[in-house]
Symmetry: C2
Subunit: 576 residues, 2 copies
Amino acid sequence: MTGFEVWAPTAEQVRVQVAGEIYAMVEHPGGWWRAGVAAAPGDRYGYLLDDDETVLPDPRSPRQPDGVHAPSAVHALDPEGWTDAAWTGRPLAGSIFYELHLGTFTPEGTFDAAVERLDHLVDLGVTVVELMPVNAFDGTHNWGYDGVLWYAVHEPYGGPDGLQRFVNACHARGLAVALDVVHNHLGPSGNYLPRFGPYLTEGRNTWGQSLNLDGPGSDTVRRYIIDNALRWFRDFHVDALRLDAVHALADRTATHLLAELADETAALAAHLRRPLTLIAESDLNDPRLITPRAAGGYGLTGQWNDDLHHAIHTAVSGERQGYYADFGSLAALAQTYTHGFFHAGTYSSFRGRTHGRPIDRNLIPASALLAYTCTHDQIGNRALGDRPSAYLTDGQLAVKAALVLFSPYTPMLFMGEEWGARTPFQFFTSHTDPVIAAATAAGRKAEFADHGWSAGEVPDPQDPQTFLRSKLDWKESENSRLLACYRALISLRRTRSELSDPRLEPVRVEFDESARWLVVHRGPLRLLCNLSADRAEIPLTGADLLSWEPAEQRSGHTILPAHSFTIHETDQLARA
Amino acid sequence: MTGFEVWAPTAEQVRVQVAGEIYAMVEHPGGWWRAGVAAAPGDRYGYLLDDDETVLPDPRSPRQPDGVHAPSAVHALDPEGWTDAAWTGRPLAGSIFYELHLGTFTPEGTFDAAVERLDHLVDLGVTVVELMPVNAFDGTHNWGYDGVLWYAVHEPYGGPDGLQRFVNACHARGLAVALDVVHNHLGPSGNYLPRFGPYLTEGRNTWGQSLNLDGPGSDTVRRYIIDNALRWFRDFHVDALRLDAVHALADRTATHLLAELADETAALAAHLRRPLTLIAESDLNDPRLITPRAAGGYGLTGQWNDDLHHAIHTAVSGERQGYYADFGSLAALAQTYTHGFFHAGTYSSFRGRTHGRPIDRNLIPASALLAYTCTHDQIGNRALGDRPSAYLTDGQLAVKAALVLFSPYTPMLFMGEEWGARTPFQFFTSHTDPVIAAATAAGRKAEFADHGWSAGEVPDPQDPQTFLRSKLDWKESENSRLLACYRALISLRRTRSELSDPRLEPVRVEFDESARWLVVHRGPLRLLCNLSADRAEIPLTGADLLSWEPAEQRSGHTILPAHSFTIHETDQLARA
């Protein structure tokens, strides 16, 4: 006998269809309907509300073998399928993340194909594999942020069993697994939640109707979100969650959803005896998110830090459009590098107002901020989805990598970045509803028309070629000089504890704005960067540990070729 | 030469009209326009934006002698007019508030007339006079929450000079002055701010468009609000502000407006060397508001606590409609009395969700919560604006007073409560725009039609009689037994330090739900209340300090008449 239950607080009657047969359900307090029905794994099931004969997928569906519009499937992971009993987890401090999109990471676009590439990641030296959302969405391919059945795993990737195999394979190699989860909106197609209950409010954010986090019935909606988060940790052995766009969670209650999630995650971590990590994507520059609960914060483990992206990207590339406007100088880079947030109570010209608040170093380690120069967003939200490799030299890419991997923050790479992949990462969708498909394509073109792009220039997200074009070309990685450099940088970070030291105090940056060189000091180690197209003479010398180009040392100076870096160990004698 | 300045960031041209002459203004960085013009006190002035020849009142107008639609008047308080040099302020702890509406407190409805009644307040024993909003609004009479020129003082009350005289008179009598300020919306008529700049956003709250606290240009809007708050402290010697409905301040920045205001208020208090108090009206039950800044809170001094109102009001009156639904039992009263918030992570049936968070007693003293059983809202938001005196016995009113004045919280009375005034406090307006006037009256009737009131039963807010009917009848106060009881209760509170002790730990409540009696213990003092219509036998005796009705003590019991209270001092012998 399998127990079926669903929340439908306003329904007069709820029935469940299991393997073609329809059964009555009984209402329980709080609007929950329950029935016990004999069912086998793989049996299709769904709910019928009131007099409507439509069979709706389960809001908490574990599996959608026939897509998000079809009935759900009875499914539980095989407890015998786990091979990671020895895995004890990984704390955030000391980690190096690698973000990948499962559909484009390999030609096949599946969990099993991705497993075949894990040894590359081990060789590279990263420690956490972060998957872009794998929740069920409409169509075959999508970035994943159009998820509508958050508990299910996208079937074409391999479904829940595929994710189990993937986590096993990662843990077997000492890799932790992070999962990107989206709780701030639902995708445009296949969202049947509003028929069941008050999951959404009238309020809207960038992507659609907001989740109901503080209106009537919100207790159960919050439970739906928190249970979803905990499910990945508990049922799928996931180590970390990346919480998409938390600034779009509109919650006016006295205990913010994120604080509640942090409390429950901490309790589960204690129960499971392994670290569980919560990392927010946030554009608020609000330290409250990553301030411990006891100090009045929400108690998340970490957050993405776009300021550091912007500071490095603009300093290296010279780009200044849009939200890059306040960045670009070496002074801005140095400020961000030594303080985490650039906007920390300072005026943001992009926002037209003062933005952010300084980080209290006594409460928040630098490892709580993720540092990166490539993400799915920073690449994919460009009109052409072109990576920095399309417009920067390999030397410039190496300088960016060095700045990230030499930082006190938690580094993150985006798949293919390590060899300077030439394949783009474009915005792609495969909506099955022709109206939504057309609106998505038109919306994308309209968005960039405002920035001077003609419709023909912007790739059509619905064109399958846009998806295929975005797949990594692994042949590019062979004999890549950049890849060797990334490996060396990561190896240095993992062997020299000064580099993963999460305290900001010992980090010191000096620079010459006009000559465009910059030096980061971390204990006895120094990163010397030349961001200019000319050679730079930096008044420091030391024992050379790692360089993009051979750097000459002469009369107390290091002479760095254009767009290159070198890492020294302090040479006290030479300095004296 | 008088300096005129106004913020008009999108204007191409701004002119100032002073005493009938028009002068050009010069644009300065940040969208500020300035001009120096010879002007005398009382000269009318206003601004002309772009090519529009309409003379608009100054958003920071100090005086509107001809109403909110007319030009402003040049005005500064007479520095020689201050007589309160010896005033050193009052901290919130130990205070007893008295809320009054200036227009209905006296027949004349002016500051000067109110001054004539201050000795009554001194005799009563309250220590803080809280004025409902005196900012400039359209029409002659209004509760004050339709303010549109927040820097000006409603002229029919006596204008800014009247407020100065009133503050002098209060301070001369040892009374502190609190002012109700509204920063979450603007009134429906006379709001010219949007013509000057982005003061408002598209978002709406209960009362209208929200203030722009986090969008482009919000730095200056926040400045407008904070400068307004500080103006009352600095320029008008006010001691405390009551911040209207702070839950309607929509601010997603990293430093909430209230936290910023608390920081600036603390700095001003240090500068002025007297306590400055910020008290929020909040329906969030979120301790963050009154948690110190150093502990991650917003750092406000206090907040109104409606839960205690509901707990006492329902226990005494038996009313259970609307948001009273979760209250009514003595258990709920005891819980609220000993914890401050009733809803502290508990389910609110009115809201259909879990509400609130517990107060951390180590961070927040009980004095930070205001306790009351009458406020302008709790009376005026009833269909008829009827006070508890209309439907409760004097004994029941006395029990309510005793519960408030025996509590560890900061008591507050509403004008006339102390003698059980029979005059109602109804919702009244005097909008000059016939469309707004009609909409206000219709809206009021429609609101109560939902609760079964016919249109004819609900007083018309625009009818001048509704205002006049709401004026206090001071003759009622003569020889009032209830007034004597209030005086005695306040006197006891001010002489027995156990009663103003702001710690919750020593507060203990016992009760008999079916017999409907309740006892509050505070050190050696005990308040025994009989909330039933029968006499109650309470198994405690002690030395009688103060009683509504003579209470008999017999065989270890105190026998309390129906609807009455007595205050004992512990009689250890009798108890043993």
